[in-house]
């Protein structure tokens, strides 16, 4: 039983990341009709916002110690972060909290990046076939990846969670299990809560604000909204920026779980597309539901008991479910008629 609870938690956690990326993907598709294969790269760029903030906070003053030599005969370097020299303990705390602090940078940076991307490139492909959109956005993702690799290298860069969240919580005690039966890392719990908050905020924004109402109307019938004198293109550009921010902050918060490297976006992109397709192209609720569903099923499929009966099922379960869903419900779990159907 404790194993099941742990796998549900794992699935929720994994599903939260899928859902956050898939939400942005399906939002862009539903508003702009663009299949954005660069969306994974935006998740990765968010993660590298955290890397950049940490690098900035740990900029070091380098002094040479002529009395100590390196193994290759040059004077040893003594490195002290400026921020620690200037602010003492507060500086050290700031470095410790670099991941959550990075969100403050990631939001404006990702918003600006998203708007530049939409205005500079994506809008030229609105009326082009989906194949063209996929090619250009996939190409863009590769270019972004290579730039990040050239700047930060190919190896993963560790981004530890703040010390206070470094350990695990004994959540089994809260739900009546024995001590240490169900322990789960604090940061993963925080990620789950954070994802739920972001998902809730995006849905609330689209459902309860005038802006969101216009966007939803535009998603349903772009032409009619335009005929009412509403500049729907401008709103859709902002929606693109919003989707970029969601992917970016999801990337920032995921860095203590997965040390970021230049390829991490691609790893998530394929799975997130499957999530969007299973949920139904353009369906926000579908993307979130499918994200959590596939995350949990993937975790269950990795259990030793399941793998001993069906070896390798953990590696194909997501695609298997996608095939079954598309056979039974060709438009996905919550897909609408007419989306991606000529």
């Amino acid at each position: 039983m404790d194993a099941l609870v742990l796998q549900i938690l794992n699935g929720l956690d994994k599903g939260a990341a899928y859902a956050l990326i898939a939400l942005g993907l399906t939002l862009v598709f539903g508003t702009l009709g663009v299949v954005n294969f660069a969306h994974g790269a935006l998740f990765m760029l968010g993660a590298f916002c955290a890397v950049s903030v940490k690098a900035l906070l740990t900029l070091e003053h380098v002094a040479l110690d002529p009395e100590k030599l390196t193994a290759w005969g040059t004077p040893m370097e003594i490195r002290t972060p400026y921020i620690e020299s200037w602010f003492g303990d507060f500086g050290a705390t700031l470095i410790d909290y670099s991941v959550p602090v990075s969100i403050l940078l990631a939001i404006p940076v990702m918003l600006i990046l998203g708007i530049i991307m939409e205005r500079g490139l994506i809008r030229h492909f609105y009326k082009r076939p989906h194949a063209d959109q996929i090619l250009v956005t996939f190409g863009l993702a590769i270019v972004v990846q290579e730039i990040v690799k050239a700047q930060f290298g190919a190896n993963p860069i560790p981004q530890p969670a703040p010390d206070i969240f470094a350990g695990s919580a004994d959540i089994g005690l809260l739900i009546g299990f024995a001590e240490n039966a169900i322990v789960y890392p604090w940061w993963r719990i925080i990620y789950l809560i954070f994802s739920a908050a972001i998902l809730g905020a995006v849905f609330a924004f689209l459902k309860y604000t005038t802006f969101g109402m216009v966007v939803r109307a535009g998603m349903a019938d772009r032409e009619t909204v335009g005929l009412l004198g509403i500049d729907i293109d401008r709103r859709f550009t902002i929606v693109f920026g919003l989707a970029t921010v969601v992917a970016g902050v999801a990337g920032v918060m995921y860095t203590p779980i997965l040390s970021p490297d230049y390829h991490m976006g691609m790893d998530f992109l394929v799975l997130s597309f499957v999530v969007v397709v299973v949920g139904g192209m353009g369906s926000l609720g579908g993307a979130v539901a499918a994200g959590f569903l596939l995350g949990i099923l993937q975790s269950f499929a990795s259990m030793n008991e399941v793998n001993s009966i069906l070896p390798g099922i953990d590696q194909i379960i997501i695609y298997l479910i996608a095939v079954v869903v598309l056979l039974v419900r060709p438009r996905g779990l919550m897909g609408r008629k007419g989306v991606m159907e000529d």
Binding site: K14, S168, D314
Partner: protein
């Protein structure tokens, strides 16, 4: 039936006689030369240069390791050609290389990108052999790639000097006459690591393996299980994980209540960084199981990669082929040379590739030829010292180098970002040596192309 000879018959006989005469006359000077029976071979260098092919990952997950290999190769070429400070050529026991290239020819090189994909690696090696005239291919950061490229080099008739490849299969069931490996293997890791684990954790332990699902992972798991089970450890589960899984949480949580008190991570590179980091986050190192402190083992360490796991590597045991902190003359010369050129110490990948380039050049010089069979014969059974691993031998039977193996531990108080590992034991060669027939496979004959 007529016996009349036609003009055609006459002219045919005359033609045959004439041709035989020309061949005989043309061959006469050669029978007096020592090259009388020397058949030509693939990419025999004709001019004043000889081309080496460096096939390393320049893109993909192991690009940083590939970049370090390339740095080491460039340094080796400089030293072979007589430039720079000479590096380990000054400490190498063989003194045939004089700093004027190899067999009077200056060494030049071409590079290829393996992308850590077998098909891409074979394509780039093929291009270097067929288009660039490379007489030898070397490099790589994966056993799958090494085995694929080794097979290609055997077919093409050039020597392959493997880079970082740790699977037993490279010089075991998939060995080839034209292939040579300086790096150690999983069998040696198991033999070296097990006694250290026994001394630190005792003989009554239950291990849980997470294993990368490809040739190296299977080989690593097999070797560690063989040696730990022999000393009394039990194996509760051995679970295969997909390469590049990223989030390993669904594989780690079953460990928590499995009854195991040791987690063995048969992962390398990015997978190792992620699985180790996540295992620590799940509190495994803080647990007590079976009345013992839970522990984690990472059998193969790479200093470059271990840095990605940050503080999580502290106190965790593993093995490595070489480490820059070694204090023998060869290691010190190499670290000095590399550090002055690039500003940081070399990785084990850089070390093994530098050694391979130097060993190949030295073998060509001793053989007086670049012909694969002659070079191979010069490498087979070659005993040497001064390249950083102590007395070493290229065993003739399987083309595997035998030398001491380093057992390392994540350093508790690093003095710099490069100071990630500390050597806790140098396991003597005699303890890690095995019979050539044990890992199977056949070398077959050399192929000269």
């Amino acid at each position: 039936m007529s016996n009349k000879k036609t003009p055609i018959d006459t002219s045919k006989r005359n033609l045959l006689k004439g041709t035989a005469g020309i061949i005989a006359a043309g061959s006469m000077p050669l029978v007096f030369s020592n090259k009388a029976f020397a058949a030509s071979y693939r990419n025999e260098p004709k001019g004043g240069t000889v081309t080496f092919g460096f096939n390393v990952p320049q893109t993909g997950a192991y690009a940083d390791e590939g970049a370090d290999e390339l740095r080491a190769y460039k340094l080796a070429v400089q030293h072979i050609n007589g430039e720079g400070d000479g590096g380990m050529l000054n400490t190498f026991s063989s003194k045939t290389l004089k700093g004027n290239g190899v067999n009077g020819k200056k060494v030049v090189y071409v590079t290829g990108d393996t992308q850590t994909k077998s098909d891409a690696a074979r394509a780039s090696a093929k291009r270097m052999i067929e288009k660039d005239g490379a007489v030898m291919i070397t490099g790589g950061s994966s056993s799958g790639v090494a085995i694929a490229v080794q097979g290609l080099c055997q077919e093409a008739g050039v020597i392959f000097m493997a880079g970082l490849t740790h699977s037993n299969d490279t010089t075991g069931k998939d060995k080839r006459a034209n292939g040579f490996r300086h790096f150690f293997n999983t069998e040696m890791t198991g033999a070296a690591l097990a006694p250290v684990l026994k001394n630190n954790y005792g003989t009554d332990r239950v291990a849980y393996h997470l294993t990368a699902d490809y040739t190296w992972g299977w080989s690593q798991e097999g070797s560690i299980r063989k040696y730990t089970e022999a000393m009394g450890w039990k194996t509760s589960q051995a679970v295969k994980t997909p390469v590049g899984a990223g989030d390993f949480s669904q594989y780690i949580t079953p460990v928590l209540n499995s009854g195991a008190d040791v987690l063995v991570l048969n992962h390398y590179g990015k997978d190792m960084v992620n699985s180790l980091t996540q295992a620590v986050q799940f509190g495994l190192r803080d647990k007590q199981v079976n009345g013992k402190d839970f522990t984690i083992v990472v059998p193969l360490y790479s200093r470059l990669m271990a840095a990605g796991a940050g503080d999580n590597v502290k106190g965790i045991f593993g093995s490595t082929n070489w480490h820059w902190s070694l204090q023998d003359a060869g290691s010190k010369a190499f670290v000095k040379s590399f550090g002055q050129a690039y500003g940081f110490p070399p990785s084990q990948a850089a070390h093994t590739t530098y050694c391979q380039a130097v060993l190949y050049a030295d073998a060509c010089q001793r053989a007086g030829s670049f012909k694969p069979s002659a070079v191979g014969a010069a490498l087979e059974g070659f005993k040497f010292d001064g390249l950083g691993n102590g007395p070493t031998e290229y065993r003739a039977e399987d083309h595997q180098c035998f030398k001491d193996v380093l057992v390392v531990k994540g350093k508790e108080n690093p003095s710099s970002k490069f100071d990630v590992l500390e050597v806790v034991e140098v396991t003597p060669r005699s303890q890690v040596e095995y019979k050539p027939s044990m890992l199977g496979g056949e070398l077959g004959p050399f192929n000269n192309g």
